[in-house]
């Protein structure tokens, strides 16, 4: 195993900074390269799928040639509406209200007839 001594006592600030910036730029440039390729591959795959679909069904899918035809305000409004819709999903309730009869089971613990301290009451003549 090789251990690199990266800490140099005479490390030059400017050289380190330049190196740092160039590594960040090159790392992200590599990502640009990779995602440009995957983007092109994806576009090709979509075009192939679309061509297959047309060949098998004979129907041409509706394609918006230029998305800029849709005004930006409309896109923003649709996005906002979708966001509000997806964020405000509640449980759907049945809205049916039922009244159930509550029946109390008999218990000698709260029976008035057998409790010890009976309250006084006037006897009818």
């Amino acid at each position: 195993m090789v251990i690199l001594d990266t800490v140099s006592p005479t490390a030059d600030m400017w050289a380190n900074s330049g190196l740092g910036v160039s590594i960040v730029v090159s790392a992200l440039s590599l990502l640009i390269f990779a995602f440009t390729i995957t983007g092109n591959l994806s576009k090709r795959a979509t075009a192939k799928r679309s061509a297959k679909h047309i060949a098998s069904t004979g129907k041409t899918p509706i394609v918006i040639k230029d998305a800029s035809e849709i005004p930006a305000n409309e896109i923003a409004a649709i996005a906002m509406a979708l966001s509000l819709y997806t964020e405000n999903v509640h449980d759907n309730e049945s809205n049916v209200i039922t009244i159930r009869q509550l029946q109390r089971n008999y218990s000698p613990w709260n029976s008035k007839a057998i409790r010890l301290l009976n309250t006084a009451y006037r006897r009818k003549k």
Partner: protein
């Protein structure tokens, strides 16, 4: 006097007999109790820090500037600056350890060195110290990155990958501040930790400072989060200064629709490419891309939901309170060489310098992003031109800086919505600042 009242009076007199007997002890106990109260130990510095904490809380609640961060940090400052006598294992720095001199071999020379060992008289670290371990050992920031990954939609970046360059350009702020901090007298490690403020990424700043300069972590985190909250004030003047009126009204082409496969491939390829270049950034980038894969895979929705809500909220609470509590006004630390006590508290000239450097870092990062967009426009076809206002979103204050771009663009053209485009450099900035942190850690760690 009634008979019953006489009995009460007699009982009261009798109860005072033992009290008078032990009056001296009573006085001593009261004195001891008083010496332990916050009132007896308070210094003007404590009150200054409590006032700063209250300002943070007020800004979060009244102005609604980053309330999810400023309120926990502000309250943490109140907790951390309650004056107390050390030794009762309540403070955030009371970790139940003690320093002892031990003979050992260091750099091939036998000598005495100070070593931390558990102190038997303390029953482990304090509660705050235990919670603070997530900051010290750097495991809160990757968990926050997991949540960010699980809530971020990278579609705009995938549809227009060249926007990654704006995120890369904004990282110039980090390295410019790194140089500036060096010239202000900070060591290389301290300068690296301060420079990362320019990345406008709180978790990354905490992660790097915990590794390079733990003693400056409080000041760095506070500066990073304060400037993130001040993004709507700092960025617009710089954006307006560096752009012409015609550039501000450039309308960008709508981003193309991104397929699900592309969204799934993105975190896998992104992780491998970036961490192979900067493996030190693996804890941050690994969790960021893992969180994004959970979101985009479509089969782990429960995990993604937990990462972006419950887990993220728990960690934000813990990181906010503990970072706030770590900003103690006065913190006496023994000099390892002379043994002399030095104040390493928050109220020092170093903190002021860090605040100044942080502001410069944000300004440079914003300017670099805008200038890069202008530079790219020189090489792009007319229909592919970039609105330079989205360049400022290269600083990774998600989504505040993207929102600022949108607001400024709408000010000049009420129908020009650049938010979607601005999110591209914004998330690129998150990746860029994590890569930059990895590079600084590799060079200076």
């Amino acid at each position: 006097m009634k008979q019953s009242h006489k009995y009460y009076l007699l009982a009261l007199l009798l109860s005072l007999v033992p009290m008078s007997t032990y009056a001296a002890d009573f006085g001593n106990t009261l004195n001891r109790f008083w010496s332990m109260t916050g009132f007896a130990n308070a210094t003007p510095q404590h009150f200054i820090m409590i006032a700063v904490g209250l300002i943070f809380i007020s800004l979060g609640i009244i102005k609604k500037w980053e309330p999810l961060l400023l309120v926990p940090i502000g309250f943490g400052m109140l907790i951390g600056n309650v004056p107390f006598l050390t030794g009762f294992q309540v403070g955030i720095y009371e970790n139940g350890m003690t320093q002892v001199a031990m003979d050992g071999l260091q750099n091939g020379i036998v000598g005495s060195q100070m070593v931390n060992v558990p102190d038997p008289k303390f029953n482990g670290p304090s509660v705050l110290s235990t919670l603070y371990q997530g900051v010290i050992n750097g495991w809160y920031p990757p968990l926050i990155f997991l949540g960010i990954g699980a809530m971020t939609d990278f579609s705009s970046l995938i549809s227009n990958p060249k926007l990654l360059l704006l995120g890369a350009a904004a990282q110039i702020g980090i390295f410019a501040t790194f140089i500036g901090a060096h010239y202000l007298g900070f060591t290389d490690q301290e300068a690296g930790a301060i420079g990362i403020i320019g990345g406008a990424d709180g978790p990354t700043a905490i992660f790097l400072s915990s590794k390079l300069a733990p003693h400056l972590m409080g000041a760095i985190a506070i500066a990073a989060y304060s400037y993130m909250a001040l993004v709507p004030l700092i960025q617009p003047p710089i954006m307006k200064m560096l752009t012409t009126k015609n550039e501000r009204v450039i309308r960008m082409k709508a981003p193309r629709q991104v397929s699900k496969t592309e969204k799934i491939v993105f975190p896998v390829v992104g992780l491998l490419l970036t961490t192979f270049i900067a493996p030190s950034a693996m804890p941050l980038l690994g969790m960021l891309f893992f969180g994004n894969l959970l979101k985009e895979s479509g089969v782990t929705e429960r995990l993604a939901e937990t990462a972006r809500t419950a887990l993220m909220n728990v960690v934000v609470i813990l990181i906010g309170v503990t970072v706030g509590a770590s900003t103690q006004a006065v913190k006496w630390v023994a000099d390892p060489e002379t043994g002399e006590l030095i104040n390493k508290g928050f109220l020092s000239w170093d903190s002021l310098k860090i605040a100044l450097l942080g502001c410069i870092a944000f300004a440079v990062a914003t300017a670099s992003g805008v200038c890069m967009a202008k530079l790219m426009n020189l090489f792009l076809k007319k229909e592919n031109k970039i609105n330079p206002l989205i360049g400022s979103a290269g600083v990774s204050a998600v989504p505040d800086s993207a929102r600022v771009s949108q607001d400024v663009a709408l000010h000049y053209d009420k129908n020009n919505h650049v938010l979607m485009h601005a999110m591209g450099p914004n998330v690129a900035g998150v990746i860029g600042s994590a890569v930059a942190a990895g590079i600084l850690l590799a060079i200076l760690g």
